[in-house]
Symmetry: C2
Subunit: 407 residues, 2 copies
C-alpha cells in the first residue's frame, strides 16, 4: 500500500500554493502562481529519483525507466495541477500526486515493472485561462497542433507560448514523444453520484461530450431614462434571454444535459447606459452525441430568434468541442477487480467533467478511477474528499498499475 | 443673438477631450481626463472675465456680478461636463457652454442685468463613477451632506473626495453659497420625442422619478459538467431571470416605465464554474411616483421569488432615489413665449433623463429647455443635434435670461 501521510501532506502543501486569503487556490495555467506549483511538483519528482521531461506545450513528465524496460512503451498515469479561479485542492492534483506516490511506493518496495511507468501533469486542463480545456493532453495526443496551441490568446490577453517561456516551462520534447501503452487517471468525481449512491469508488467507462462557445451580442448603447422600451437594442437583455432559455430547456427535459453560463461582461457597463455589447460563454454537455448536437442546434435557433426579436446581432465562436468518449473496457474491469480485492464496491459510471484521459484515449487504451466528492461540490474551495477515500483510490491505482506492469 | 461659431467650436473642442480612438469622449467625474475638461472650461470662464468659484464638492461657477447687482440673488444657468463611458459630445456640455455663451454675449452687447448671472458645471451628474447621479447639484441644494458625498466610493474603488483633491477641484466654498433666484438648464432631449413630433424646442415642465439599485446575488460555485441542474445555486441564472422579468414587465405594461440593467459581473467568472455571485445594477424610472413605487415593490417581490426558486441569497442596495419633479410653471411659460417670439413651436414635455435642474428645483424656481436628439440617441458617440437646433436653443436661453434679468 502507498504511504498515506506522504500523499496527503503533499496534496495539502500543493493546495497552499496560490491560495487566496479566505479562499482556495488560484493557479491558472502558465501563470506565475502555477509556476510555483510546477516547481514543487518537479522537486518531488526529483526526490523520487525520476527523470523529468517537459514537452513544448509545457506538459511535465516524471519517468521511471528501470533497466531492461527501455524498449517498451510506458504505462502513463497523470492529471493536471492547474486550477480554476478560487478552486479546491483535489481536482487534478490528487491524480498527479497519487501517480507519483504509486511510482515511489513501487520503487521503495523493489517492484520490477515490465515497462516504464510515467506520471504526467498536463498543461491547461481547466481551460479557464486558455480554451480549449485539456489542451496539454489534446496536443500530446495529436488532436491540436502545438504551434496553434502555443499561439492561443487567453482571457487576459496573454499568449500561452510566451507565458510558458516566461515561467520556464516551454520544454523541448515534441508532444507525444512517449507513446503510452495505456493511461490511467485517478480523480475526484466532482459530482454527487458516488456519495448519493454509497459507492467509495467509480470505475469510469465513459465521458460526456463538451461544447464550449463564446457568444457576442451587439446592440446599441442608448440612454436608460429616455429610450422607450420598444426602441431599444439591448445586448444585455438578449444575453439574459439566452441564459434563461438554456436553464428552462435543461430543466424541462428529462435528459442529463447541462448548460452553464460562467462568464459575462457588458459594454460600456454603465448604470444608465443600455448595453451596446454583451459577451458570455456557454458550456453545454451531454453524454449522448446526437443529443448534444440537437442541443447545439436548438441554441443556434434560439440565438436567431433573439437576434431578430431584440434587434441585435449575435455571433458565436467555438471555444471547444469534444465528442463523448468510451474508455477501454478491459482497464475498466481491472479497476473493478482491484476495488473488489480491497473489499470496495465500485460503480460503473460516466464522467461529467472533462479529463486528460479523454484526450490520451485517442492514442492509448485509457480509463479513470473516481473517488467521492462530498456533496458533489467542485470548482469551489469547499471541494472535499475524505482521507479514507483518497487513500483507497490511490491504493486501487497502485494495484491496477501492478497488474498492468506485472512482469 | 449669440455667437454661433464660438459656441459650436467650443462644444467640438470640449468633445475632443478624453476622446477614445474610434469612439466618443470618456470623462468620468473627477478623473484625470475630466480635469482636462474642467481646466478648459475655467480658461473660457476667465476669457469671458468671469469670477471663478469652486465649491467643496467640485462644482465650478463662472460669476458675472455687475456693479449694483451685488445685493441680489443670481440667476443661475448650468449643467455638467462629466460624461458616461464612450459618450456623445452634447450631453451636459451644451448647457454649460451655452450658459457661458449667453453671459459673454450679454456682456459684449452692454446688457445691464438687474441681478448677477452665474453659469455652473456640476460635479458627477452622470453618476457612472459615483452614485447617486446629479450629486454636485444635489449637494448644492442641500439634499446630501457634503462630507457624505465626498466619502463616496466609486465603481473603481476610488474615493470622490480624494479624487477631487488630486485633480485640484476640491474648492473651499460651501455648496449652496449662492442662493439662485432661479435656475434654467438647456439640454439635448436625449430621447426621440421632439424629432418624432417635429418640434425644434421642448419646454420641460417635469422630470420623471429615478430609482437606482445594486443587486448582489450569492449562490454557490460548482462544476459546470458534473452538477445536475436541480442541485445548482446559480447566481448568474438568477440574475438573468431578473433582467428578463424587468423587460417582460415593461413591455407588457401600457405605461412609460423603463427599466435597464447596464452593469453586470459574475464571480468567479470562469467558463466551467457555476457563478457563485452576480452583481448588477437596476435603473428604474417612471414619471408617476405611485407607479414607480409599485414597480419597485413588484421587483422586490420577484427578487424574493427568484431567491427561493434558485436557492440563492439576494440583497438590494439603494444607489439613488429621486421622486418625479415639477418645474416652475412661470419659467416654462417664459420659455414657450421666447420660442414663439423666435418663430419656433415648442412642446411641453417631461424629461426622461435626470438633470441638475431637478436638484436645484429644491431651492429655486427652475425649468429646462430641450432641443431635439437625432434618432433619440444619447449616451453613445452617435449622439447628435443639428447646428440649427443647437443655436436656436441657445438663443431661446439668451432671450429667457434677458427676460428674467431685465432691469
Ligand atoms: N476535471 C475538470 O474539472 N476539468 C476541467 C474541464 C471541464 O470539465 O470543464
Ligand atoms: N442627462 C443625463 O444623461 N443625466 C445622467 C443621469 C441619468 O439620467 O441617468
Amino acid at each position: 500500500s502507498i504511504n498515506d501521510a506522504r500523499l496527503l501532506n503533499r496534496l495539502r502543501a500543493l493546495g497552499e500554493i496560490g491560495r487566496n486569503p479566505d479562499g482556495g487556490p488560484t493557479r491558472l495555467a502558465a501563470s506565475e502562481t502555477e509556476k510555483l506549483g510546477r516547481d514543487q511538483f518537479v522537486a518531488w519528482l526529483k526526490e523520487a529519483d525520476l527523470d523529468v521531461a517537459v514537452d513544448r506545450i509545457g506538459n511535465i513528465f516524471g519517468v521511471w525507466k528501470p533497466q531492461g524496460t527501455e524498449s517498451h512503451d510506458p504505462l502513463m498515469l497523470g492529471s493536471h495541477i492547474d486550477t480554476v479561479i478560487n478552486a479546491g485542492i483535489y481536482d487534478g492534483c490528487y491524480g498527479v500526486l497519487a501517480g507519483l506516490e504509486v511510482i515511489a511506493t513501487l520503487r521503495e518496495v523493489g517492484f520490477q515493472p515490465s515497462r516504464p511507468i510515467v506520471v504526467g501533469a498536463f498543461t491547461n486542463e481547466e481551460g479557464v485561462r486558455y480554451a480549449p480545456d485539456m489542451m496539454g493532453s489534446l496536443v500530446y495526443a495529436g488532436g491540436l497542433d502545438v504551434e496553434e496551441a502555443l499561439a492561443t490568446v487567453g482571457i487576459d490577453g496573454s499568449n500561452l507560448g510566451e507565458e510558458l517561456a516566461a515561467i520556464g516551462y516551454a520544454g523541448s520534447h515534441e508532444p507525444g514523444f512517449m507513446k503510452p501503452h495505456a493511461y490511467i487517471e485517478l480523480h475526484i468525481e466532482q459530482g454527487p453520484v458516488l456519495e448519493r449512491e454509497g459507492f467509495p469508488v467509480g470505475a469510469v467507462d465513459s465521458l460526456q461530450g463538451i461544447s464550449w462557445q463564446q457568444i457576442i451580442i451587439d446592440g446599441d448603447a442608448n440612454h436608460a431614462g429616455t429610450t422607450p422600451i420598444t426602441m431599444r437594442k439591448d445586448a444585455g437583455v438578449a444575453a439574459a434571454r439566452v441564459i434563461t432559455f438554456l436553464r428552462e430547456r435543461a430543466k424541462a427535459s428529462n435528459t442529463p444535459t447541462v448548460a452553464t453560463v460562467g462568464c459575462i461582461s457588458f459594454e460600456p457597463n454603465a448604470i444608465n447606459v443600455i448595453p451596446s455589447k454583451a459577451t458570455f460563454t456557454i458550456d453545454l454537455r451531454d453524454p449522448d452525441e446526437d443529443r448534444l448536437l440537437a442541443e447545439e442546434a436548438a441554441l443556434a435557433d434560439y440565438l436567431r430568434t433573439v437576434a431578430q426579436e431584440e434587434q441585435v446581432t449575435i455571433t458565436a465562436e467555438r471555444l471547444a468541442r469534444f465528442q463523448p468518449v468510451k474508455f477501454d473496457g478491459e482497464i475498466v474491469r481491472t479497476i473493478e477487480e482491484a476495488a473488489l480485492a480491497r473489499g470496495l464496491k465500485s460503480k460503473r459510471m460516466t464522467s461529467g467533467a472533462g479529463h486528460d484521459a479523454q484526450m490520451i484515449a485517442r492514442i492509448a487504451p485509457a480509463a479513470m478511477i473516481f473517488v467521492p466528492s462530498v456533496a458533489g461540490i467542485s470548482h469551489n474551495p469547499k471541494e472535499f474528499t475524505s482521507e479514507t477515500d483518497l487513500v483507497a483510490g490511490a491504493n486501487i491505482l497502485l494495484d491496477v498499475v501492478c497488474k498492468l506492469t506485472a512482469p
